[in-house]
């Protein structure tokens, strides 16, 4: 016993180091395997407030540019309105809508890591929950991962954990959108598109209908380069994003009102198997 205590005292620094290293490793592996830790992420009260404070100062520098973006988007919507693309927009039946949109602002953005997270200023108080889609006026941004009362973290599409259903516009050939070349923040990869599908550089990639997170046909980017993968039966496509991931301010969070029903049905089907 005496010897054990002596041993512990002699090596207490080393043991303390191992202990703390172990804690960090547990956190790291947890975040590798599944969602981030529930509490220790940048959507908590302290970090959220500090990021809001800093965003309140820095957001003034981009106001003119941000206004231009919003006017541009308004113009696009008006174009659609005048050309009657949205049929009788004033008579939308509130029982038949599938999606609701919440607006928000980015208060912290990262794109240089392997797993990038974006912190936004909407949280549980605005009925934001995990797995809601986040888009900008140009294209998709990511999926809500954690929420606190007033803030949320969004797993960016620039993350090696990200996997989003996507397809080629005006076709039904869908694949998975991943981020494999993790140093280029303007390009993501679309995989699992069969080689029979005709492709052209410049084709538009949009979100597919297989996801209960994003509505169909939200723009993602254009094909920059494509090649066959190792198995020679699927394409490996580089997609250049419409979004400038380095410069994001106003965002929209999408709530799929049918998501709960879809998930319940899927869970039930799987349970019956």
């Amino acid at each position: 016993m005496q010897q054990i205590i002596n041993f512990l005292i002699r090596y207490k620094i080393f043991l303390l180091y191992l202990f703390l290293l172990l804690i960090s490793f547990i956190f790291t592996f947890q975040s590798h395997s599944y969602h981030q830790s529930k509490f220790l992420n940048s959507s908590n009260y302290v970090t959220g407030s500090i990021y809001t404070f800093s965003d309140n100062i820095t957001s003034y520098f981009g106001l003119r540019e941000e206004n231009n973006k919003l006017v541009e988007e308004n113009k696009k919507l008006r174009d659609k309105l005048f050309n009657n693309v949205l049929l009788s927009p004033l008579k939308i039946d509130s029982t038949s809508i599938d999606y609701e949109v919440v607006r928000g602002r980015v208060i912290n953005n990262s794109y240089a890591d392997q797993r990038n997270y974006i912190t936004i200023n909407k949280g549980k108080n605005d009925s934001i929950v995990q797995d809601m889609g986040v888009i900008t006026d140009k294209g998709i941004l990511g999926i809500v991962e954690n929420t606190s009362d007033n803030f949320s973290t969004v797993q960016s599409i620039l993350s090696d954990k990200s996997n989003i259903n996507a397809k080629i516009k005006n076709s039904n050939n869908f694949g998975s959108l991943v981020w494999e070349n993790t140093t280029d923040y303007n390009v993501v990869q679309l995989i699992d598109i069969p080689r029979l599908v005709p492709l052209t550089i410049g084709d538009t990639i949009v979100t597919g209908a297989m996801s209960s997170i994003f509505p169909e046909n939200i723009p993602i980017g254009t094909i920059k380069r494509f090649d066959l993968d190792n198995s020679k039966s699927f394409y490996f496509i580089d997609v250049e994003l419409f979004n400038d991931m380095t410069n994001i301010d106003n965002i929209y969070i999408i709530r799929n009102l049918n998501r709960k029903e879809v998930l319940e049905l899927e869970a039930e089907t799987e349970a019956n198997d």
């Binding site: 180091y17 960090s24 220790l40 992420n41 940048s42 500090i50 993790t182 140093t183």
Partner: protein, 169 residues
């Protein structure tokens, strides 16, 4: 025991975390270079202090940066590693005389200070990027990031340590 040293350490801790997350994490020089300037905390930390407190403090320093940047907990792992290795590095760089009462960082030569900081940065960044990228097939990427980010941290670290040097002569 609240004295000026402890106060200075706490102040340094808070300021370095804030500077790291609000300024240097958003630098994105060449797209991905974000200097990890907060490890200057370990460079400046007094030598003759309780090691247990030091390691625990460094763990929380890394954890704070992790929480802000959603990188749980690779900063903590890297920082606690160099906190543990710091006496070994100091013995290597300064020789045995760093254990004497009169030894001060400012009294050592510029070359010694430089080597000390460089070693801290190399080990920290190597652990950090290994854990971040987490695959040995990408070892070239790990080395490249360690080198480029390490050099930027080193340059800024030298600038900072010169700027806030306590030597007034």
């Amino acid at each position: 025991m609240i004295n000026s040293t402890s106060f200075l350490i706490v102040l340094r801790f808070i300021l370095l975390v804030l500077v790291q997350v609000l300024v240097f994490n958003k630098l994105n020089f060449f797209g991905y270079i974000n200097p990890l300037i907060y490890i200057l905390f370990l460079y400046w930390y007094p030598i003759k202090q309780n090691r247990t407190t030091f390691i625990i403090l460094c763990f929380f320093l890394g954890l704070c940066v992790d929480i802000f940047s959603d990188t749980l907990a690779i900063n903590a792992a890297a920082t606690v590693t160099i906190a543990y290795l710091r006496p070994t590095i100091m013995r290597f760089v300064f020789g045995v005389n760093y254990e004497f009462q009169s030894f001060k960082l400012n009294n050592s030569t510029k070359a010694q200070q430089f080597t000390f900081l460089a070693l801290l940065i190399i080990i920290h960044h190597l652990v950090y990027f290994t854990l971040e990228i987490f695959s040995f097939s990408n070892s070239l990427l790990i080395l490249r990031k360690t080198l480029t980010v390490g050099v930027s941290t080193l340059i800024l670290g030298i600038l900072f340590s010169t700027l806030f040097s306590s030597k007034k002569e």
